[in-house]
Amino acid sequence: MGSGTESAAEELKGHIVIRDLCKGFVDKDGHREDVIDACSVEFEPGRLNVVMGQSGCGKSTLAYLLAGYVKADRGSIEIDGRPVAGPGPDRVMVFQETALWPWMTVTDNVVFGPLVRNEISGAEARQKAEVLLERFGLIDFKDKYPDQLSGGMKRRAEIAQALINSPDIMILDEPFRGLDVMTRELLQEYYLQLFEDTRLTTLFITSELEEALFLADRIYVMEEAPNNIRQALDIDLARPRSFEVTATERYLELKQQAMNLLYADSEITE
């Protein structure tokens, strides 16, 4: 699995091993549909793993299973050798639509995790939160309510809210969807920089190829059950990356390869 960095990999947390995972839902008519079927895949720690696929292919379900919000029908998910049994602060999720609690100020949203676990005092938590908010350019908005923030600010607040828990894994489920292009690119750079500073194991779900290529160490192509994740593509673009990377020849090659993977099975019908 490692590419010559075994010693570094040892101290990295968040090695995700998924074996024979199955999850189906039963609709109103009692008809059962498998969203994830016998899916086995491994996400390496300290890497920015991107899962790509069209909507409805079960990307979110995979994220919910990993986060522990829903239970698998069969199979297992292990993180650093321990099976996932319910949600926990070691893997925090940033959702498609903002999940900030609207009745709490930005600071209260951020300090919620450490305070609810009684880890540190209120003053300490506040201090920690302010450091994070400062870093994410939100310090002037710390006493605002989420609905007073722009879409991009909400996303940054949510990342701060997740990071304060010092998670081993960040799960981001199409986090920048619905934002305008400029905000989106800015946030991609934000997250990229954060990742390159911390090497925080990430599962990043997206349906945008450019986003995937720009961020990923590896792109996993997800399709509908029963062949959920069969293919992956290593994105060997040098880090730290900047948007200039998108103009390189290697980027364009990878993009071509990725498109071939993504559209290999889809038939264009007229």
């Binding site: 986060a67 925090v92 609810v116 676990r117 309510y145 609905d147």
Partner: protein, 267 residues
């Protein structure tokens, strides 16, 4: 000269005189004019009624200083307040229980749904039989008026809590109790507010009718007595008073709701 230039740079303060809404004012004025004309020309049905001016005159001459009149206000307000508050005290927890406990819902929701379609006023006779005093039976009917709306709204509110909001709290390691207190309760506050808005309107509806049927005091009774004693001014003063009382109650409830939801203030 220099003074003039410095002051001119400062933007003129906006004067806080609300712009009069001419259409609205015209609408209200023409209502009273038409009422007056209808009475004066004796259009059928209006012949018995006093003109707006006569009503106003009666109000200022006889009612504004009359202790009995203000007592009617007090009595009705008390009934609405008690019924409304008791409905909140029982209704909010019940709605929460229906929303959170499947077992509780399975056991008691059918009974609730059985009773819910019965209009509050249909409870009047049994209420009088059941409760020891007249006052308590009227408060009970008012309570019924607000209770079902509040329960249903809170119950709906629990159902519409976003999964993400609960999940995120679980990810953070929140206990069931803190999830309930910090996530579920605030989530249903907007629904409680809707229940309160609807509830206060219904309580006024109900209390007036209940007073007409089963009480010897209150604004509803006063209005009814105006009819019985063939003094239409009293009927009109009663109606206007009731409208005003309902309006004031709604304003108060609005004010409380805004304080319950500070995060919605600067939308």
């Amino acid at each position: 000269m220099s003074d003039a230039t410095t002051t001119s740079r400062v933007a003129p303060r906006k004067r806080r005189i609300p712009r009069i809404r001419w259409r609205g004012a015209a609408s209200i004025a023409s209502f009273f004019v038409l009422w007056h004309l209808a009475v004066v020309t004796g259009i059928s049905g209006f012949a018995e009624l006093p003109t707006p001016v006569a009503t106003l005159r009666a109000f200022f001459a006889e009612y504004i200083t009359d202790a009995g009149y203000w007592h009617s206000w007090l009595v009705s307000f008390k009934r609405v307040l008690y019924g409304f508050i008791i409905a909140q005290i029982f209704g909010i927890p019940l709605g929460l229980l229906f929303g959170t406990s499947r077992r509780f819902r399975d056991l008691f929701f059918p009974v609730f749904e059985l009773l819910r379609p019965i209009p509050p006023l249909a409870w009047v006779p049994i209420s009088i039989l059941f409760w020891p005093t007249n006052e308590s039976s009227i408060v009970f009917i008012t309570f019924i008026g607000a209770f079902f709306v509040i329960v249903i709204n809170v119950y709906d509110g629990v159902g519409s809590i976003r999964n993400e909001h609960l999940w995120l709290a679980r990810s953070m390691g929140a206990s069931r109790l803190s999830i309930f207190r910090r996530i579920m309760l605030p989530s249903v506050i907007p629904s409680i507010a809707v229940g309160m808005t609807l509830g206060i309107a219904i309580t006024w509806n109900v209390v007036i009718a209940a007073e007409m049927i089963a009480s010897d005091s209150g604004l509803g009774r006063m209005t009814w007595e105006g009819y019985v004693s063939s003094t239409p001014e009293v009927v009109l003063i009663g109606m206007i008073s009731i409208g005003l009382a309902g309006f004031l109650s709604s304003l108060t409830v609005d004010w409380i709701e805004r304080r319950m939801m500070p995060w919605q203030r600067n939308r």
